[in-house]
């Protein structure tokens, strides 16, 4: 695995990244290092891109049941530029504001990307959460039914963004758990 040209990040760039993300300088530099380690050799880090596979094999995401969704949501054209990675880390950082986290969580959970978390999405989520083969149809139905009955305010059998936001804004645990601390150094 080659490395990118080790271009030192400009102070201006760094400052800009700091301003535009919720990351600290160290975190940015750390992500930068991780990025350089993975990306194809001979390219400036700004032009280089990582594939989804590379990103989803990062220690932070390797075992995450939603890694493919995360990659999909944060990548562009199926590849990650350095800034995409930063954007992802920013959303998952501790300082990111709740509304931003909820927004991206919604996108991650919206498997079929139809703008709603519907039963299909919910079942997929539950299957991934439980990750066992013996999840019975009944259980799935039960869980989705209960989730919807808790959070679906307009009774359309799926969660719109506002409903999801409403439900998650009440859940401080979500804010705490929708975080990834460890980006490789």
């Amino acid at each position: 695995m080659g490395q990118c040209l080790r271009h030192q990040m400009q102070w201006e760039d760094l400052e800009e990244y700091q301003a535009l993300t919720f990351l600290t300088r160290n975190e940015i530099l750390c992500i930068h290092d991780t990025f350089l380690k993975l990306c194809p050799s001979g390219k400036h880090y700004k032009e280089a891109t990582l594939t989804m596979e590379q990103v989803s094999s990062l220690p932070a995401l390797r075992v995450n049941p939603f890694r493919d969704r995360i990659c999909k949501v944060f990548s562009h054209n199926n590849v990650f530029s350095f800034e995409d990675v930063l954007g992802m880390a920013s959303v998952f950082s501790e300082q990111a504001c709740p509304s931003l986290k909820i927004e991206y969580a919604f996108r991650i959970y919206d498997f079929n990307e139809n703008g709603f978390i519907d039963e299909e999405d919910l079942q997929k989520i539950v299957l991934r959460l439980l990750n066992s083969d013996d999840v019975s149809e009944d259980l799935l139905m039960d869980v989705t039914h209960h989730v919807l009955s808790e959070s679906d305010l307009d009774n359309d059998n799926m969660l719109s963004f506002s409903e999801f936001e409403h439900a998650m804004a009440k859940s401080p645990d979500f804010m705490n758990s929708f975080r990834i601390h460890f980006w490789g150094c």
Binding site: L61, E165, K170, S171
Partner: protein, 964 residues
């Protein structure tokens, strides 16, 4: 609003041009991975389409087969799309007649549609979107990139279609502003098709007039728009789209969303309808934040949209800090944020330019602020760097998740607290004392580390060592009154602790108890709150397993709730609870009595017995109680069987805290009533020593528990009784230990000012010990812990029984008790507070400090002032309480309203469906007629063709509804 409609209606067009839209998205996707210079094309955002359109294939086919069997005869159109195409072209007549139908009006009356029909000669197109439009337009909007690919799909579908007279092709392009774009992209992608399209058709000339009109709307950044797309760049098109997305985002209000949703609902049973609403829904869902799909499109130019403009306008007047914060919170890519920032900065500088041109001062200020910002960021970096154990925290979070992490962050929080207290006492009390310290003549044996007595008695550690004199170095130098310094420093320490506790408690309460009653069960939380922090393979597996049991348990609980317990069961359970409470309080009382008599007896015993180690008996017994009784309590779980695990945890916590606090309480009673009044020489130091020993013994016990107990337990679990497996980290018990130790520290700070320092060290060591023990001996807790709520509860516990208890004890000490006569800073005074009184007296004799005296007499010392203050606070509290009550009612009403809104939509959809049903039944022949017409169509009919797709859309909507 209106512009939005127009746009949307326009989009309707686009969509119909993308009439194949429904069917072909998927393919398009696959086939043209961004081959258009459309970077956004491939983004996940676009996928909505593909997913949405997954179901599509059904739809066209159903359309084709059911309604247009004859369409097959249309030889030149060979794809599925063709039928639909023919279908809609056919519908032309139908369209005219059906358009004034009532069902439309329903929708027109929607807020969303109002003002949407200003197009005189295109009413149909306008209405369409409204109707099927809800979906079609959305659909389009979602696919801003459509243009990009509305063109693109031509290819897959008509690979060999050159020979065909693909009217669809030309139409598509012409219709959309995309036609211009054609110029741009046609070259690459659709060459063949360009050739083959019948030229006359293609120009779609009559469309063009329309489209400008659509966008050329007033609130649209119209002029530049036109010009923009005259230039036929993709970007331009995107920009045009951007606004749409933006607008929608802004204008669309929630009900509308519901509407769409419910519209969708009408369909779920049918297999195909999905596609229709999927997209719209998608758009809706993403809209609140220029979501995914939007992102792509608006990527480059979204800020030229009204919405973007508004955002920019709102950003300009902000302070630079707020501005950056707001920009940072935009759910956009970095590039967009950067551009946004640039634009805002430009705007800002423009404004400033107008105001004070080339003002040197402003420049200076600018560079100054930049410099200060850099320093600040550097400083915060440094602070971050200093902040302890960052990396360890990451590892713990990765392996054990947030719940265990919360224990460690609580520990770190306490550590900071103690460091802070230590810094204050050290700098204001200990250092001055050092400067006048006498030689310590006592000998040091080493046992003093445990007993805290002996050598330590005459060090800065204890109260008794401090001087009551005024420290003055050199004649005429500043003097330092030790008495006042002592009482003020400790007081300030406690006050600051009080406020920081209060604020953090308030913060936690605000964040974590916003509306706990709404979601009683929290399965949604279980499902959506996957702990992303966990990055360890095994931990993830375990977590999944635990989550599975938890979900099952939760569901079974809900089921159980429905079947009520029999009277007998209820009675058994109730009596079990009563018994458990009786036993636990009995045990606690017995422990307290034992501690009290032991302490009393011990003091007698110590008088006669001179072995220095004997003083350790009391702390040893107390620590034993603290170690054993909680474990005994947790065995009650076998008898009590709480249905809700959380209830069990809370009950256990309450019992434990009751035990610990009552032990500390009884010890306080013993200290204040026996030790202090016993006439012992320097009783404050004795109390300080007692507390030191308790603290130390507690530390030793937890150390031993971690190092021996936990390792032993693992050893046994691994080697001998494998059924035990690994134990879980008991967060509650561990946190309670921390709270207990912290209580002792606060209590002792007056008698032993160095106690925060000792606690600091113990916490520091505890962190590493617990960390190692955790890594080696434990597995993550199986219950999904409501970590944040628990931490709130812990901080509350720390505040309420523990800190307030300490305050009471110290208040009694300071106001009531008589300081020992021969040692300590307050020697000779009738009470500790007397030092303050005499200070005020001296001050009142100096004219410069009369204001202090006044403040003291009128505010602090005055009963009336406090009476009035209390009254005011009570009134304010009452008012706030009333406001809260009002808000609660409001929330309930709004909830009901949302639900009713949903019902309304359902009702309307049903009605609409019924009407359409009727409409279709009324003229079943229309379709055939139409088709014939289509077949006769010549290039000259482009006009109608353009209108027709709208109809098609509408038709498709009808069909969907029919299927329902």
């Amino acid at each position: 609003m209106s512009s939005f409609h127009r746009n949307s209606s326009f989009e309707g067009h686009a969509d119909y041009s993308g009439y194949s839209g429904f069917q072909n998205h998927t393919q398009d996707h696959l086939e043209f991975p961004g081959s258009l210079d459309n970077p956004g094309f491939h983004r996940p955002r676009n996928n909505p389409y593909s997913s949405g359109s997954r179901t599509n294939p059904d739809y066209p086919s159903s359309l084709v087969e059911a309604d247009y069997p004859g369409s097959l005869s249309n030889t030149d159109h060979h794809s599925t799309r063709n039928p639909s195409f023919s279908a809609h072209s056919r519908t032309r007549p139908d369209y005219q007649e059906s358009f004034p139908k009532p069902d439309y009006n329903d929708f027109q009356s929607n807020p969303y549609r109002t003002g949407s029909s200003p197009e005189p000669h295109y009413p149909g197109s306008q209405h369409h979107p409204g109707f099927s439009g809800v979906r079609s337009s959305m659909n389009y909007a979602g696919s801003r990139t459509n243009l990009g690919y509305s063109g693109s799909w031509e290819e897959p579908d008509y690979p060999g279609a050159q020979g065909n007279s693909d009217h669809p092709g030309p139409r598509v392009n012409s219709n959309l502003p995309g036609s211009r774009r054609d110029v741009g992209y046609a070259g690459s992608r659709i060459n063949s098709y360009c050739d083959t399209l019948e030229e006359p058709d293609y120009p779609g000339a009559e469309n063009q007039p329309n489209s400008p009109r659509f966008y050329g709307e007033p609130d649209y950044p119209g002029a530049e728009e036109d010009h923009g797309y005259g230039s036929s760049k993709l970007g331009v098109i995107r920009r045009r789209n951007g606004p749409l997305g933006m607008l929608r985002r802004e204008n669309e209000d929630y009900p509308e969303g519901i509407e769409m949703a419910s519209m969708a609902m009408a369909g779920p049973q049918a297999h195909s309808p999905r596609n229709g609403y999927v997209n719209s829904a998608y758009e809706r869902g993403s809209s609140p934040a220029c979501a995914d799909g939007n992102l792509l499109l608006c990527e480059r130019d979204w800020y030229t949209s009204p919405q973007g403009q508004k955002l920019i306008a709102s950003l300009v007047p902000m302070t630079s800090r707020d501005r950056i914060k707001t920009i940072r919170n935009q759910p956009r890519t970095m590039k967009e944020k950067r551009e946004l920032r640039k634009i805002v900065d430009k705007e800002k500088s423009k404004q400033r330019h107008g105001a004070l041109e080339a003002n040197c001062c402003a420049q200076c200020l600018n560079s100054l602020s930049l410099a200060s910002r850099r320093t600040k960021s550097n400083l915060s970096e440094l602070l971050n760097y200093v902040s302890l154990w960052q990396k360890t925290f990451k590892v713990i979070g990765g392996k054990f998740g947030t719940s265990v992490l919360s224990y460690f962050s609580f520990l770190r929080w306490l550590l900071r607290f103690n460091i802070f207290s230590f810094v204050i006492t050290f700098s204001f009390v200990i250092i001055p004392q050092f400067t006048v310290a006498e030689r310590n003549t006592l000998q040091f044996t080493g046992l003093e580390f445990f007993t805290g007595a002996g050598y330590f008695r005459d060090t800065v550690m204890y109260y008794g060592f401090y001087t009551n004199s005024t420290i003055r170095h050199g004649t005429g130098g500043p003097s330092y009154n030790m008495q006042l310094a002592y009482i003020f420093t400790i007081g300030a320490c406690l006050v600051i602790c009080f406020f920081s506790l209060l604020f953090s408690m308030a913060k936690y309460f605000r964040n974590n108890f916003i509306n706990p009653h709404i979601y009683s069960r929290g399965i949604a939380k279980l499902v959506f709150c996957w702990d992303f922090t966990v990055t360890h393979d095994k931990a993830v597996k375990l977590k999944q397993k635990n989550l599975s049991t938890e979900i099952r348990e939760n569901l079974s609980e809900i089921r159980q709730e429905n079947d009520r317990l029999t009277l007998h069961q209820q009675l058994t359970r109730f009596s079990a609870h009563i018994a458990a409470w009786l036993v636990s309080t009995g045990v606690a009382a017995a422990c307290c009595a034992a501690v009290y008599y032991l302490a009393e007896y011990n003091s007698e015993f110590l008088k006669t017995h001179r072995n220095p180690g004997a003083v350790l008996l009391l702390p040893f017994v107390v620590s034993c109680i603290n170690l054993a009784v909680p474990r005994f309590y947790s065995m009650f779980r076998l008898v009590e069987r709480y249905e809700v695990p959380r209830q069990e945890v809370y009950v256990l916590l309450i019992r434990n805290i009751l035990l610990k606090i009552s032990i500390v309480g009884i010890l306080c009673y013993y200290w204040l009533n026996i030790v202090a009044l016993s006439g012992e020489e320097c009783w404050e130091t004795l109390i300080g020593q007692d507390i030191y020993r308790l603290l130390l013994m507690d530390f030793v016990f937890s150390l031993a528990d971690s190092l021996l107990g936990e390792f032993l337990r693992r050893f046994i679990g691994m080697k001998f009784i494998t059924s035990l497996s690994l134990q879980e980290f008991d967060i509650a018990r561990n946190v309670l230990e921390l709270i207990y130790a912290q209580t002792l520290t606060w209590l002792g700070i007056f008698f032993c000012p160095l106690l925060p320092f000792i606690q600091m060290i113990t916490l520091f060591i505890m962190f590493y010990v617990k960390n190692i023990s955790l890594m080696m001996n434990f597995q993550p807790p199986s219950k999904a812990w409501r970590a944040s709520q628990m931490i709130t509860f812990f901080i509350f516990l720390l505040f309420f029984p523990s800190f307030t208890g300490v305050l009471c004890t110290l208040a009694i000490t300071i106001w009531r008790l008589k300081p020992s006569a021969d040692c300590g800073p307050f020697r000779g005074l009738p009470s500790f507070i007397q030092s303050i009184y005499s200070w005020i007296d001296t001050l009142s004799r100096r004219s410069g400090y009369l204001w202090v005296v006044w403040i003291y007499q009128n505010l602090i010392g005055s009963v009336h002032f406090f009476f009035i203050l209390t009254l005011i606070v009570l009134i304010i509290t009452y008012l706030y309480w009333q406001i809260t009550e009002g808000r609660k009612i409001m929330i309930r009403l709004l909830h009901e309203q949302i639900i009713n809104e949903g019902k309304d939509k359902m009702f309307l959809i049903e009605k609409l469906t019924k009407l359409q049903d009727m409409e279709k039944r009324a003229n079943p022949n229309a379709l055939i007629l139409e088709r014939r017409e289509v077949e006769q169509q010549s290039p000259l009919h482009v006009e109608e063709l353009n209108a027709a797709p709208d109809l098609r859309l509408r038709r498709s909507a009808q069909d969907e509804n029919l299927e329902v």
